[in-house]
């Protein structure tokens, strides 16, 4: 497929989605959602108000903390489990089943442990986002090709050099994939946290809009969240693919 065709197909898909949106509006009416053009205009208007940015800053800072903590803890735990084969084999299915439980039920525990502040949100984001980082890192270290380590040994690299020139480049692509998934899940965790028992943040704006039947606000904020999530994910995906295809 040529680049031109790809662009054409992409545009067609985007138009089709906008058409579905418009059709939903025609069908369900203004009690359910606002039409695309009006929503986009209101969203731009919202982006110019300080109230919106007050909420957005809350969300973004909780989100940034939870991504940072998930990344550091996740990579450290993943490297540890990957290096000690036995610990990794014991932990992997446990982590996988943690990944599949409805973690939202644990949110009250976070609230009871951390109080009604940003730290509960951050902790909740971390329990969502950390597990994929651990699992991807663990997998990367476990599946590293033995020939690479043998090459490092035969070149008499020191442990530091082995880490710098062999281990890190070999596991980096997988860790990047893990971070991308973790990034999305941290956002999910923080937003869910704000939708429940919170007075600030984007999630609160959405739930507040729902409760006060402010359809215009809910639809516009939803659009902003989706554009942010998809934009960030696409950027990370592009980075991810570059890392995987390198060399």
């Amino acid at each position: 497929m040529t680049r031109r065709e790809g662009l054409l197909d992409g545009t067609l898909i985007l138009l089709a989605m906008l058409a579905v949106w418009q059709a939903l509006y025609q069908y369900a009416g203004s009690a359910a959602l606002t039409p695309p053009w009006a929503t986009a205009r209101y969203a731009v208007e919202l982006l110019g108000t300080p109230t919106f940015w007050g909420h957005a800053t809350q969300t973004l800072s909780a989100f940034a903390w939870s991504v940072a903590i998930s990344a550091v803890l996740g990579i450290a735990l993943g490297l540890w489990f990957g290096a000690f084969r036995f610990a990794g084999d014991v932990a992997e299915p446990m982590l996988a089943s943690l990944y599949t439980i409805p973690k939202v039920t644990l949110y009250p525990v976070m609230l009871l442990l951390f109080g009604l502040g940003p730290s509960a949100k951050i902790a909740f984001g971390v329990i969502h986002g950390m597990i994929p980082v651990v699992l991807f890192t663990l997998g990367a270290v476990k599946n590293i090709r033995p020939v690479l380590l043998r090459a490092a040994r035969s070149l008499r690299l020191s442990p530091m050099q082995t880490a710098r020139f062999v281990l890190v480049p070999a596991v980096l692509p997988e860790i990047a994939s893990g971070l991308r998934v973790g990034f999305s899940l941290c956002l999910l965790g923080v937003l869910i946290g704000e939708m429940f028992a919170s007075q600030r943040g984007i999630g609160f704006l959405i739930i507040n809009g729902i409760n006060s039947h402010n359809v215009k606000l809910t639809t516009a904020v939803t659009l902003i969240v989706i554009v942010f999530a998809v934009g960030a994910n696409s950027a990370l995906l592009a980075l991810d693919r570059r890392l995987h295809h390198r060399g």
Binding site: Y27, V90, T100, I101, P102, T105, L112, I206, V215, A229
Partner: protein
């Protein structure tokens, strides 16, 4: 003792150890009992709750919602995956959508779904369905991608019709991925429904947990929470066991 039994034993040991540690931490007051109940009491609370009509009604409501969402997602996801596999250009075009799908918190669509379907079980089913569908679709695509071309050639050599090729050659070859998709779909449908109930709806287990939290009824909250988590872990473990049994049979064949 073989290595795999040792691993399983250690896993049980670690789990039990963590539970005992939490029990000790709660009993000794390191973790305040106002925040976290000791596991033994959670378990007792769960058993008590499961004998009341009200909770059983909630369990039935949630489980049936999950079941409908899960089955619909698996069937439709599979069908859509097969269709999409046959349309490579369309598939390439919507690939970015599939890749970004799970980065959007789908709960933001709940008000829209309520407006579309009214206040019934349908919006919740839709949330569970939307959470689970892409997992099945992507797994189906991957499974069909990984059918070795030599198998398709063998089918042609034996002059199998397209229905028999699908049933005897392609489906079995794609089965591991399909199974992965089914497992993920169940987990995602469960997560979607519980979270939908928790944040937005007025019924089911998720709502009961949120309600118990808001009325400071920790016993009920922890009992229900334990039940939900155990249900998720047990169903996932059962599917995994079945999966690895199928896998072993494949190797023997």
């Amino acid at each position: 003792m073989t290595r795999s039994t040792r691993i399983v034993c250690t896993r049980w040991g670690v789990s039990l150890g963590l539970i005992l540690l939490l029990e000790a931490a709660c009993r000794s007051g390191v973790v305040p009992t106002l925040a976290v109940l000791p596991p033994s009491e959670m378990f007792a609370a769960m058993l008590e709750l499961l004998s009341t009509e009200e909770v059983l009604a909630n369990v039935a409501a949630t489980f049936s919602t999950v079941a409908v969402a899960f089955l619909a997602a698996v069937l439709i996801g599979f069908a859509a995956g097969v269709a999409l596999h046959g349309l490579p250009r369309f598939r390439r075009a919507i690939d970015p959508l599939l890749a970004s799908y799970y980065s959007v918190p789908i709960f933001v669509f709940y008000p829209l779904l309520v407006a579309l379907f009214g206040l019934s079980a349908l919006p919740l089913i839709a949330i569970g369905f939307l959470a689970a569908l892409p997992a099945m679709l992507i797994a189906t695509l991957l499974g069909l991608d990984r059918v070795p071309p030599v198998l398709r050639r063998v089918a042609r050599m034996h002059r199998l019709g397209s229905a028999r090729t699908a049933a005897l050659v392609i489906l079995p070859a794609a089965l591991p991925n399909l199974f992965q998709g089914i497992k993920l779909s169940l987990a995602y449908a469960f997560i979607g429904v519980i979270a939908g109930e928790f944040i937005l709806s007025g019924g089911g287990l998720g709502y009961a947990i949120a309600y118990a939290y808001e009325s400071f009824d920790n016993r009920t909250m922890y009992g229900l929470m334990l039940f939900v988590l155990l249900s998720a872990v047990i169903s996932n473990t059962l599917l995994s066991t079945w999966e690895s049994r199928l896998q072993r049979r494949r190797w023997r064949a």
